[in-house]
Symmetry: C2
Amino acid sequence: MANPVLVEVTRGCITESFHRAGFALVDGAGEVIESRGDILRPVFPRSAIKVFQGIPLIETGAADAYGLSDPELALACASHSGEDGHVRLAAEMLAKAGLDATVLECGCHWPFDAPVARDLARRGETPTALHNNCSGKHAGFLCTAVHMGEETRGYVGLGHPVQQRAKAVIEDLTGFDLNSDVCGTDGCAIPTFAAPLKSFAHGFGKLASGEGVAPERAAAGRRLIAACMAHPWEMSGTGRACEALMQAAPGQVFAKTGAEGVFCGALPGLGLGFALKIDDGTTRASETLAAAVIAVALRSHDPDLAARFDALANKTLRNWEKTEVGAVRAAIR
Amino acid sequence: MANPVLVEVTRGCITESFHRAGFALVDGAGEVIESRGDILRPVFPRSAIKVFQGIPLIETGAADAYGLSDPELALACASHSGEDGHVRLAAEMLAKAGLDATVLECGCHWPFDAPVARDLARRGETPTALHNNCSGKHAGFLCTAVHMGEETRGYVGLGHPVQQRAKAVIEDLTGFDLNSDVCGTDGCAIPTFAAPLKSFAHGFGKLASGEGVAPERAAAGRRLIAACMAHPWEMSGTGRACEALMQAAPGQVFAKTGAEGVFCGALPGLGLGFALKIDDGTTRASETLAAAVIAVALRSHDPDLAARFDALANKTLRNWEKTEVGAVRAAIR
């Protein structure tokens, strides 16, 4: 059965396009507080679970051994915009482990954010691996490998201890068996494992509540989540959706985008986690639905704050002459 | 009922995302040769019917009065990439009518094509209205207005004769009543009218076959279509899908993209037209499905040529390190 339409794009008096999706809002015990669509089909979480992948950076002691700052921990969980500050911070993380950008295996790409890419071009520069939106996560992987005395070369491979540790954390938090049938290769060359939305939401619910997870692991996850909430720019970039969502409720909402229309998050104060995926993989829809799901979570606890997220879930569309022509809006019925 | 999934995006052994859509392949008599999904719900055609909107440029005699070349006629039907040659050609069209870029009411935007936008930034430039992907169409509108002795100011408004002539052509070709209930504002500020996919496909079928339309109108439409097929770069840009589709079968296939996942086209030799829309408005899917629909049209007439379009309907996805990670592929069942 098709997932329901949860985001509509209007123009004039017509719904021009629409996005089908599923989402799960789950507590630490695994109880589904609210959901729509199929939340049991395995989907790739892509970058939306960088916090899970970052936990070994804390658990191995690498973060403390290298004295990583909170902005650096946020960058380790980031899909950043490749702005100058992001690039500098990633280089500093690598330097703390005695490394430089040549060891990165994430590949190069122009920053996704068009104004940032144009600024780089205007200065006559081209992107390096440090501009890759995942360079902070990779710097974290590499810090961990060096701290553990492991070979850095090939750290993106499934068999490398870096990826095996990340996989073990994801399995523990989701409670889902990550076998080779559900493995793909992510944009930045590391393995990505598919699991149900319900399982990813439960994983974030565990970290948010501390339930059903070892206290040290919960503490590691909450330390990363706190770093991201305190440093949303380091975790995303200027004007990005993750930044806007976390700035709308400082310290109360963690939200992280992933490729192909995935979004995950946590509300530590409520002990809840969420995960969503737009069937068609569109970011405009995942960002809009993330705001709406956060509003659902907050509704009965803080209606005023919920209203702030309702507003973020209804964006005006304008043409090149700035005339209002329609809207992108969540429609959770 | 939900439209069927017609485009799949795979990663590893999983279908990561999918796109639902409808399409209609129709002849000049209005007979549906092949279709999937709902082809009767009105949708905005956006830029996919620029050929319809360009017909008054021929019919009023403006194109001949100003001696517009075939590349200029292709640009009048273009969603171009804002490359230097496009910008120069649009300025030349305006100059032929004694105008310059200050009369354009389409607004400015950075070229959608990222490398083109970065080239502009690298030279320290910013986009003008001539870089707007619709500047050629607007130049055509303005040539027509000047030739007819009309005020150029406000030519984008629904009440202006330029838009009334375009609307009359669209109504004639689609056979659909374009009332205010189906009107929205397009990105470039002109009105856009919703009609069923079947009607748009029929309109292109009429132009392709010459059936059911006044001979002068059919001739005007075919002149524009021929100009586009002969000058696909002027009608799109370097590496764009419209260019690739038309270059795959020179003189046999006309194909034109539109915003929000619309694609229209014609096969003049077969007397067929097609129209499609991806429900979620995604361009990667509309480009892929367009290739597949053209393959369907060609299958029994020219299997080898059809195979060329089947190949265009199955694109390998690679990560930043150029490793194959999946595919975007049409799945018409």
